[in-house]
Symmetry: C2
């Protein structure tokens, strides 16, 4: 008898995670080996609580809209699976799977979600339960091992490149010295900040300063560089990662001796952008502004990359293919086989080699004035953000979304 | 003999100010009554310094690209014209105009720029100098009198509506209580915050809270409302204007008794969004985040409104038409003649009745739960943000801009 499947989403949103969901659902519906296709609300929590929705009747037209809808249509969670297999979390999960005759569980998410895939697959193997567990990667941070890049990164990269180009237009209008500091997501890996630096890496002269968590950040060097640039250029723009650290490995701006307090008298940690804004004001004294790109860099579906959404949907479909072929404890990965023309293949990699690792920007790419490094960065990032996604507009010319009702 | 014309841009950027520039240049080139078409770098400062560029050879294709390029292609300034007509500023301006045989000056800008138009036109009249001065409105703030709306507002409104819709998707994913506060530009007028509230006014249930500078902001009422909403809904989103004031007319968060200090020990004024974030943390204690939409709401050309860009270009063309007909000391204005179908006419209004006034959101629109008020708001804003602008993409599928080299 045919088994059913269930799919969940976890971690932070992206513009592409629903494309992967559309891929799993589409392939699940089409597969002769699969019965019903369920979705789990709020990731693994929906499995624990048996809070599922039957997605088997989703139409191709609905899947097309789901593909371009940002954030998680099924909701998300931040749930760390217990290491103790005797925990009732595992028995509840098994209950839900048995109750709904589940043969395979697909989990779309980042690092933490791959830890869930790993633990569940190990648990089922140990208990001799024949339920496959397959991970489909997702993270705008692009920090997963064993995959050329992650679904969601290309769309955020496209958003950041276009937005920084627009900010460069905006800040260039006044004929007085000004510094603009743009803070980009990425606590430990600088991939998104690299993407924000693309207008420079592609041959422009801005952004003027790019700083990643993979580099040691030196405040004096930063102020010296900005001051020097201000001698010949009035409008300076810096893009910096939220995770900048100093030579002691401390997050920039987190200095406990600073004595910053908020309006309520509590110790106050500003973000790195705001901190550097205050630093420029203090040390240089010119007009300065910081901009935190914030959630927009992960949810701006209207500026998603077509390449990213196409690949992300196929990643979901491939997950189903791998599961039907009997694989478990794996994650779908992108293997880049060619740069020009850009071409990737999809493969299954052991999730144990992915979970709880982080992929950093290579050291040799960090010499930003080196032409070879610049070429490497462009060669890597540019193909991932190609293609304008056609939004489905309603009668008011506003983008439409696919909403799954709880 | 045919006279030449010159055009300048002033104030803060928008997505539509280059469309008006394209309109002036296009009509200037086509007019049989006009010789050369000059641009002035950095607004009136370029006139004072005789820093002009000849735009007479701009092609139709270039004008099409200029129309969709965000921010000011000619640069901007913040220059307050002296009230004393004996100031050498006026004689320098006359020098430049005489040197370049200028018969008309077009100034594209907001409130302050219309003050320049007013003063210059009064000066020329008083001195008996036959140079026309025509204002073309521009401000995302939508706060100019005697015009139904301002060029630039519709594009920012479109950006804000789409972005808030995407943020609503983003914040809805977690099944835990959270509050998101979105800070919108508009120091004295709440038009942009109204636009950010469109997902609610158009019939949705979010944003959950909308606050404009036209209303007295009460912290206790804010906290009570948010707390109540959290009883039945986990994911609350508020959109607030940067210019909220309390019952004493003080800007919210500016309380000098708060004792907030920055990392460098200086008194620190956070924006209203950050202040309300800290307030929610203090009074409610749930997960809370503030998002300052910042410059993106004025420079996101990729999400401009086609209606806005079309109207803005025509506004520039009409300015030339009015000047050729002999008008001076006027501003081009939009007169809405019909809501359904939406239709406007262009007219010349006396700039003396525009400069230094501010148009606020009508009091009767501020009852946000009143269906008639909601309908009024939608009827007013929705037509202005209609239409997706087709970007001109380069070989890397990135938006192209028209750059005027200094």
């Amino acid at each position: 008898m045919k088994k059913n499947i269930v799919v969940g989403q976890s971690g932070g949103p992206s513009c592409a995670i629903n494309a992967s969901l559309a891929g799993v659902v589409s392939a699940g519906i089409k597969s002769a080996e699969i019965g019903k296709v369920y979705g789990s609300f709020n990731g693994i929590e929906g499995i624990i609580k048996n809070n599922l929705v039957d997605l088997s009747d989703t139409t191709e037209k609905e899947l097309e809209l789901l593909k371009i809808t940002p954030a998680m249509a099924l909701g998300s969670c931040r749930f760390k699976m217990p290491t103790d297999f005797n925990s009732e979390v595992y028995s509840k999960i098994v209950d839900t799977f048995e109750k709904n005759d589940i043969g395979c569980f697909f989990y779309i998410g980042g690092n933490d979600s791959m830890d869930t895939v790993l633990k569940l697959s190990q648990y089922f193997e140990q208990k001799g339960i024949d339920i496959k567990v397959v991970g489909v990667p997702k993270t705008i941070d692009n920090d997963l091992m064993l995959t050329d890049h992650t679904p969601g990164f290309g769309s955020s990269a496209r958003y950041l490149t276009v937005t920084v180009n627009e900010l460069i237009r905006d800040i260039s209008i006044y004929d007085i010295p000004s510094v603009t500091i743009v803070e980009i997501m990425g606590r430990n890996a600088g991939w998104l900040t690299l993407a924000a630096g693309m207008p420079y890496f592609m041959g422009g002269n801005k952004p003027d300063y790019i700083a990643l968590p993979e580099q040691v950040f030196d405040e004096n060097e930063f102020i010296d560089t900005i001051s020097n640039k201000l001698k010949t250029d009035n409008n300076i723009i810096a893009v910096v990662s939220e995770g900048l650290k100093d030579k002691n490995g401390e997050y920039v701006g987190s200095d406990s001796k600073s004595g910053a307090v908020d309006n309520f008298g509590h110790k106050y940690l500003s973000g790195v952008g705001k901190y550097l804004e205050l630093l420029v004001k203090e040390k240089i004294g010119c007009k300065v502004r910081s901009i935190e790109i914030n959630l927009m860099q992960r949810c701006a579906g209207h500026l998603a990359s077509q390449t990213d959404l196409d690949e992300s949907k196929i990643a979901g479909e491939k997950g189903v293919e791998f599961a039907v072929a009997g694989q478990t404890g794996i994650m779908v990965a992108y293997n880049r086989v060619s740069d020009a023309p850009y071409k990737i293949e999809y493969q299954a990699v052991p999730v144990k080699d992915v979970a709880n690792f982080e992929k950093k920007v290579p050291t040799e790419w960090l010499e930003f004035e080196n032409e070879q490094a610049k070429a490497k960065i462009v060669e890597y990032i540019l193909p991932l953000m190609q293609g304008e996604v056609k939004q489905q507009l309603d009668e008011n010319s506003l983008p439409q979304y696919f909403i799954i009702k709880k």
